[in-house]
């Protein structure tokens, strides 16, 4: 199993940020942390600041598209003004400094809250080099760099963000570097108010688990393959759109024509050669099309024949099995009839009158449907003859299919070549003669070209999807060895969340087909499979998702932290109690929990708070710290005392 490390947040210092009374210094407990406040006082902002101060303004979920035939990976980020818009009075000096540890490395990192820039990063007492630059500008350069195969002249290593992210990769040892860290922080360690579920996101299940169990090169290749597949999907959609909007295409053609100024004589020579080639290809195409049509007819006949033989075999098999293992009525009748006709019950032995009719069952009285027995030796021979003939027709179908595929491929290639030639012929003709008739004539051909490009893009997408599926299978295979430990942790958390009256199971089904969208893991509650989140109530789906996240964190890591936004907002009192029990279990494994709480009646926060002594709990009371807190009578102290 691969070892890598996640950040452990120790301190956070916020300066000149007018939403809070600054400087605001938070020393995080390694057990329980509560961010408390009334609505609109900045609880979510503070939680998001925790992640921002570590990894910057990334939102997670890399988006991949194709632009100008190149793959472009876009790592979405917040607007530069995300935190400054939440200030009461704008201040360019606003900043957040967090101290955190990753494995043995001590980090002190400062980000601007005014424009989200990374201002300074000190690792083990050493300041990282590089120019300051906004994340947005850096991302543009990063995307360009990747699209140019890392050969861009604008070097990323000039910038501080680059060195910081490289250092994060080194400390965490994560395959996929900061991209994987972003996914871990936002998809596993943060459960926000939007309740974005991770467990049922099939894309995430194997990427989250995969990095722990397959070697890092393979994992990176797999992540790359996923992005490539997405890009190819996007390329295919684009080609498809192109096909649908040919008017634009034609317009583009006209514009291109204006740009081209080729020599007429040279073009005429080229035209002669292409037309000659096109004629030859046309003849080949005609021949192949005729052959294809003939073979296709033969194939259809063979398929029909195969279906007929299958049906006939089916009838014979039915007769065979009915006669091989006939109803045991005869045996029962032989055993019981004599006693019954004598007036004795064959089971209890008491005297009893039975009305027995030869055409009805001696026990239940139903009409008997015992068909005449047939000569099964003849049936068996007929059955074998049909099996042989089925095997022959199957072979015939297979051979014809292979032949048809070959001819089909040849036709496709010839068509492609012919179309290429025709397009060029039309282009040359249009260039030589300004007569618009040529263009009209070529429109249809160009439409065909667009269609072909679309088909080619679809084929490339399908092939990449298939490769991705094979890689996903390898991850599944590797997961089997670690699954028992992971499953045990999952079921422990799920049982704790759901309570004793429910029965939970997590399994790794043997995959039956090559469905890329099939989930890796299957969750069952009370014996019923819950393939989709809507198959559970809101609290149940939250519990399942939290169980998944907790088991990822505690199975594969010794220590971590987890941030949960207002966990009590959707739970009733009974489920709050179960959640408390589970959160405590998570903390007792050596992890820190950071949660936000509203000033509302909730036993969850109260029970968790009461469980620990004051040294183990950090309370960030926004009714005292936030400048937007108008009602101080709802302070945390009063809230806790009232609950008591």
């Amino acid at each position: 199993m691969n070892r890598f490390y996640l950040p452990i947040l120790n301190r956070m210092r916020i300066e000149d940020y007018s939403l809070y009374k600054c400087p605001l210094e938070i020393c995080f407990s390694n057990k329980l942390n509560i961010v408390y406040g009334t609505n609109g006082t900045g609880k979510s902002t503070l939680l998001m600041m925790c992640f921002f101060s570590i990894v910057g303004p990334y939102r997670g979920g890399i988006k991949t598209k194709v632009r100008q035939e190149h793959r472009r990976d876009n790592r979405p980020i917040y607007e530069d003004s995300f935190f400054s818009e939440r200030m009461i009075k704008s201040d360019t000096n606003a900043k957040v400094t967090s101290s955190f540890t990753i494995d043995q490395d001590e980090y002190i990192v400062t980000h601007s809250l005014y424009d989200c820039k990374l201002l300074c990063a000190v690792v083990n007492g050493r300041s990282l080099p590089g120019k300051q630059i906004s994340y947005r500008t850096y991302e543009t350069k990063y995307t360009q760099n990747r699209a140019d195969d890392y050969s861009s002249t604008d070097r990323l290593d000039d910038y501080l963000i680059y060195h910081y992210q490289e250092q994060l990769k080194k400390s965490t040892k994560l395959p996929g570097g900061v991209n994987t860290l972003i996914s871990m922080l936002l998809d596993v360690m943060f459960f926000d108010e939007g309740r974005k579920l991770t467990f049922w996101n099939n894309d995430l299940q194997e990427t989250i688990i995969g990095k722990y169990i397959v070697d890092s090169d393979f994992y990176e290749q797999y992540c790359e393959k996923k992005l490539t597949t997405k890009a190819l999907e996007s390329a295919y959609k684009k080609k498809s759109e192109t096909y649908n909007y040919m008017n634009k295409f034609f317009q583009k053609e006209r514009e291109e024509k204006a740009k081209v100024g080729e020599d007429t004589e040279k073009l005429q020579r080229e035209l002669f050669h292409i037309e000659e080639k096109a004629q030859r290809l046309g003849k080949e195409l005609e021949k192949d099309q005729l052959l294809y049509s003939r073979k296709n007819k033969e194939l259809l006949t063979a398929i029909h024949e195969e279906e007929t033989v299958k049906e006939e075999l089916n009838v014979l098999e039915e007769t065979w099995y009915t006669n091989l293992f006939p109803s045991p009525y005869k045996e029962y009748h032989g055993k019981f009839y004599k006693q019954m006709i004598d007036g004795y019950c064959p089971v209890c032995g008491n005297k009893h009158d039975f009305s027995l009719f030869s055409e009805r069952c001696i026990v239940c009285g139903e009409w008997l449907q015992l068909g005449d027995s047939q000569d099964i030796i003849t049936i068996d021979t007929a059955r074998q003859n049909k099996i042989d003939s089925l095997s022959e027709t199957k072979k015939k179908v297979e051979i014809l299919s292979v032949e048809l595929d070959k001819i089909g491929e040849r036709i496709k290639w010839t068509r492609k070549e012919t179309n290429k030639n025709n397009i060029r012929i039309n282009e040359i003709k249009a260039l030589i003669s300004p007569d618009e008739d040529y263009r009209e004539d070529s429109d249809k051909k160009r439409l065909e070209k667009a269609q072909e490009e679309r088909d080619l893009a679809l084929a490339e997408y399908n092939s990449s999807k298939k490769k991705e599926e094979q890689m996903k299978k390898k991850i599944e295979e590797s997961l089997v060895d670690n699954f028992t430990t992971f499953r045990t942790a999952f079921i422990r958390y799920a049982s704790s969340f759901f309570g004793e009256q429910h029965k939970e199971n997590l399994s790794l089904p043997f995959s039956e087909d090559d469905d890329l969208n099939a989930p890796l893991m299957k969750f069952e509650l009370d014996g019923k499979t819950r393939d989709e989140d809507y198959m559970l109530s809101e609290s149940q789906r939250i519990f399942t998702d939290l169980s998944f996240r907790f088991s990822v964190l505690t199975t594969f890591h010794n220590k971590s932290f987890f941030i949960c936004e207002t966990p009590d907002s959707t739970l009733d009192i009974f489920h709050e109690e179960l959640a408390v029990k589970t959160f405590l279990e998570y903390i007792e494994q050596g992890n820190a929990l950071i949660l936000s709480a509203n000033a509302r009646h909730s036993s969850l926060v109260n029970d968790l708070y009461k469980h620990y002594n004051s040294n183990d709990v950090t309370v960030i009371d926004l009714t005292k710290i936030s400048k937007l807190a108008l009602i101080t009578e709802y302070s945390f102290d009063r809230y806790i005392n009232r609950e008591r």
């Binding site: 099995y321 021979t381 060895d481 399994s507 043997f510 039956e512």
Partner: protein
Amino acid sequence: MDRKKSMLAETMILFLFALSKTSEEVNINTYKRYIYLYYLTSGFINNNSDDIEIIVEKGDIKIIEFESIISDFVLKEYIETEKNSIIIKKKLLDFVDALLRNKDGALIRRYKEIQPFVSLIQSYNDQFVFTVFFSEPTFREAPLRGVSEIHSANSKLAVLLKQFKSKVCDTRIDEYDILAYWMDYILRNYYNIGADGDAVEE
């Protein structure tokens, strides 16, 4: 009897007939494991896709309809059961023998698929078959995956054996040789190293 059950019953009766060549008595659990291993390797050795449902519970298996078919055979007086043993009766032997006399039938082809498997598996004693059964990858993986119901068509063993064969690159090598090689490999490892990692005498 529905089709699936009938097909399993056909396999089971042919197995009993093949087993009777060496002994009229067979342990019911060993017999059940033979059937299990046959179906799990069938996709490799016979390339057929017959499927049976198997429930994995408490470190053993339950083949759906197996018990019911045994009861039917008892009722038809093909067999007798005594504690954990099945005694194969003359009625079964006569019945199957009469059917197998038809050299042009489908049943004898099926028997020719089963008989070599029975010969191979019978060449190992019950204890070894028990070991092989517990080392079969589908059975071993099911609890690791948290799966309690498996289909023989999803056999991991068949996939692994096919992969092995494709790597051998020798078309002359027989499927049964590969299967026997796998069984020997399991037994060699198991009896040299032992389940708990200690050396064990063969």
